[in-house]
Amino acid sequence: MSTQATPGKYGFLIDVTHCIDCRACNVACSVENNVSMDSTRIWMNGTGVVGEFPELSSSTAPFHCMHCNDPSCVSACTVGALTRDHDGIVQYDDDRCIGCRYCIYACPFQVPNMDLDEKMPLIVKCDMCGDRLQEGEQPACAATCPPGAIQFGRREDMLAKAHQLITDHPDKFIQHVYGEHENGGTSTFYVSPVPFEELGFPMTSSTSSAYLNRLVTHGTPAVFGAAAISLSGIYLTIKNVKEESAEEARIAAQTAVVQAAEGAAAETAAIEAEESTSEEA
């Protein structure tokens, strides 16, 4: 199966040196996208206050869907609720979603989240404010950012600008454009004065886990029903384990993702074995 790793049309450039943690982006997103009071499409990552008084530093950055070139969530979604559109925007269709949460575990950036108090929790994630794009407006977060930390434009321009910034100001930025190669490349680029691990950004492989996921989700159309049943089992297990608050769920999800990444190969091998068995049958 071929990869889908063509770069998208649009991109974000987020300059961590400019972010003031005011959260105008968070509020603007919640209003624009009618997000429930109990979940969010965008949140703040940060270093916290580092050091000992008075030698202190602190950096923050908003975080939302990276819009990967080859999104792990799309490949993990068994029902086509998550798709990557022709502009490279990762879209979510709640009519198709069955609440399996595979995308949550597949995403190396821990982006999709849901309100666990809901009986039928739906996924909450950024879609680049598609309605605004159609009206020629910037996404709500970028449009409102008071210090101009979030920029939005053509992906290639944003990437070029990111490189320009770190090249022109080696004293100000570490020499790493986060999002350029992470998970095989994305449409969201960060430049930062501190290493991204310190900001709490997930450290991912430079290749997308989507290929492995596709082996599972696209390679088993004949046994879709069986897969759905096994997924339901997993869903119920997860549901029992994870009836915590949304915040705790996020932390738990981080752990799960690390484990998932480690265990992905083994799991895939196991399912492939099952697949060949059923084909024989």
């Binding site: 040196t17 400019h18 003031i20 943690d21 005011c22 959260r23 105008a24 968070n26 509020v27 603007a28 919640s30 209003v31 624009e32 009618n34 997000v35 429930s36 009071m37 969010t40 206050v49 050091g51 000992e52 008084f53 008075p54 202190l56 530093s57 602190s58 950096s59 407006e137 709500a140 449009a143 409102t144 950012c145 008071p146 210090p147 101009g148």
Partner: protein, 728 residues
Amino acid sequence: MTNFTVSRRDFLKMSGATVGALVVGQMLPISLAKAAQEAGLLDENMTGHISTMCEMCVWRCGLIAKIVEGKVVKLDGNPDHPHSRGKLCPRGQSGLMNTYDPDRVLTPLIRVGKRGEGKFRPASWDEALDLVASKMQGIKEKYGPEAMVFSSTHNLSQVQFENLLNAYGSPNYGTQRSLCFNAMIVGNLMTYGMEEPARDYSDAEYIILTGRNLMEAVSTSETGDLTMAMDRGAKMVYLDPRFTKTAAKADLWLPIKPGTDLAFHLALLHVIIKEKLYDRAFVNANTVGFEQLETTVAPYTPDWAAGITELKATDIETVARDFAAAGSKALAHNGWRTSNFENSFQTARAIASLNALVGNWGTTMLPASGGHGGEGLGMPPQPPYPRASARRLDGVPWKYPLVPFKLGVFQELRDAMLTGDPYQAHGWFISRQNPVQSLPDRTRTLEAMGKMDFIVSVDIFLNDTSWFADVVLPESSYLERYDPLSQVGNRVFIRQPVIEPQGDAKSALWIYKHLGERLGLGDYFQYEDEEDFLRQQLEPTGVSLEEIRKKGYLDLAAPEHGEEPDIFHFNTASGKVELFSNVLDGAGFDGCADWEEPPMPENGRFYLLTGKVAQHTQFATQNNQLLNKYQDEPRLWINTKSAEKLLLKDFDLVRVTSDVGQINIMVNVTEAIRPDCVYMTPGFGHISKGFTTGYGVGASDSVLHVTYTDPISGGQALTQTFVTVQGI
């Protein structure tokens, strides 16, 4: 007569749901819908964009409201407005949640229980206004108009509020200014002859922010300007006992000891004068009193200041030299302080003098542009006001000779209402203000309210002050009403309704007019309705209301005489920048900025710091569900080492005690504060149960604050309150 289709009960049922759910269900009644359509603002589906102005703080950004089927669904910054430039801060973004808050008061309320029980019955406007008018008239006849106190906070309708109180004839007027920036304003008046010179960051190369936490106390355009200046390479020095978001961006953060901003700036003046680093040409041509300043600051060496501020003398020297080296491109922010003490007036004077020495006038500091009243705008005709003969209860000018009338000394006014000295007030008219939370020493404020025969409050919520009122008059929100036009420079902006008022809420322009008429003061309110008021304002400009409604602003013609005003003529007695002020000297105060020793905490007590966060404005926004969603939990910051000594862990509950009050609050154990300070975000700890979201969240700083007034500026010395912290 009601014209709403969704009752408050319906809104309550929807609370906790999504924003969208709150937005749903409110249809535009035909009047506004038709007008908006006729003005070309909305299409036949009641969908479109309407330009108006934000009111989530006093910065007044221009915004564009997106209306879908008669509901406001999104607010964006107006790119044409100099304060927003297309952007809005989190508060601005959350504004529609204030309007659609299920806790809105949507009908006049008359108290039926005891004060503070929160028991009210709904009433018609006729009944409520008749009652208010008869009470106000009764107080006037029995005790004179001075027995009625009026108070309101900075807003666009304030001109009509002041019209009401002046027409009624009371001299007693409380604004929030003495709680905020009297020291800065009087300091600037005494130095520059203007309240607050404007700052221009476009050429700034070296910026000193004394507690001006621009990255959290966001003023959208100024925060953006600072960011751009630093991007260009401008250096920023930030003084604050706390490591704030601004400290995190600073080139140099100086964790100065509270109360000692003055010593720091006196030492800067000392170095710049001693080493002759000042702009001699500017000083000679445009200032008076340099010699007196030189003599005054001679003893204030960096070593002296280091001992007081607990900063390094070398840092102070470096800042002084670098600041002076930037010359006219240096800027010492003239609008703030790291802590508010009785010596804050001297700090404001020292900062003003510092700017004058480097000759930055016309480069980084400029005359303030435009007024609020609108020089090029008209006003409805009205007779002269009656003369208020009684002395003002706040001591202006008989006790505070240098405090401008329009600023006043609110905390002293409150104390006079309590003590009855020099005479007893009997009524209190409060509009868009929450003095129960904003004034220091909440217990005293509640006691003063107890002395009032009658209290009326105008607000969109049942805030903590309305909670104790006898009559609550529901105002329409800023997205539902017209306010008088606002002028910024040569540009006039409009606040106009983008949706019809919910319930029976009415605009301030409507409320004051209809109350005025009942008080026999109709001649002071010669306008038919809000639109007529604005039309009369627009009359001299030749622009129609429809035109400005559509565009959101209008540009006034430049003055005809064509001559640029001389920006180097100052409105002081000497016409120059006054480093030495004869006015101050004549009133028995220091003529130059001079050292005043601040009080210090003893016996293990802490300085109590307060300050702003980007998600809230003072006491007014804690009930906003969107801001509540993204705010930090309001906890008491305490330094790690201090917490260790008190055996406190993060999130422990503590009792905080000052000389006047006590609160319980959770601690945030952090390195980001000096060990001798604790900090709390003001505005929490609401006592009104009318705030479903905000009630019971955090604790109130006003319970703890002790009342101290600076004798020169009348400013409340907010940080002169010291507290003990004890685990419970």
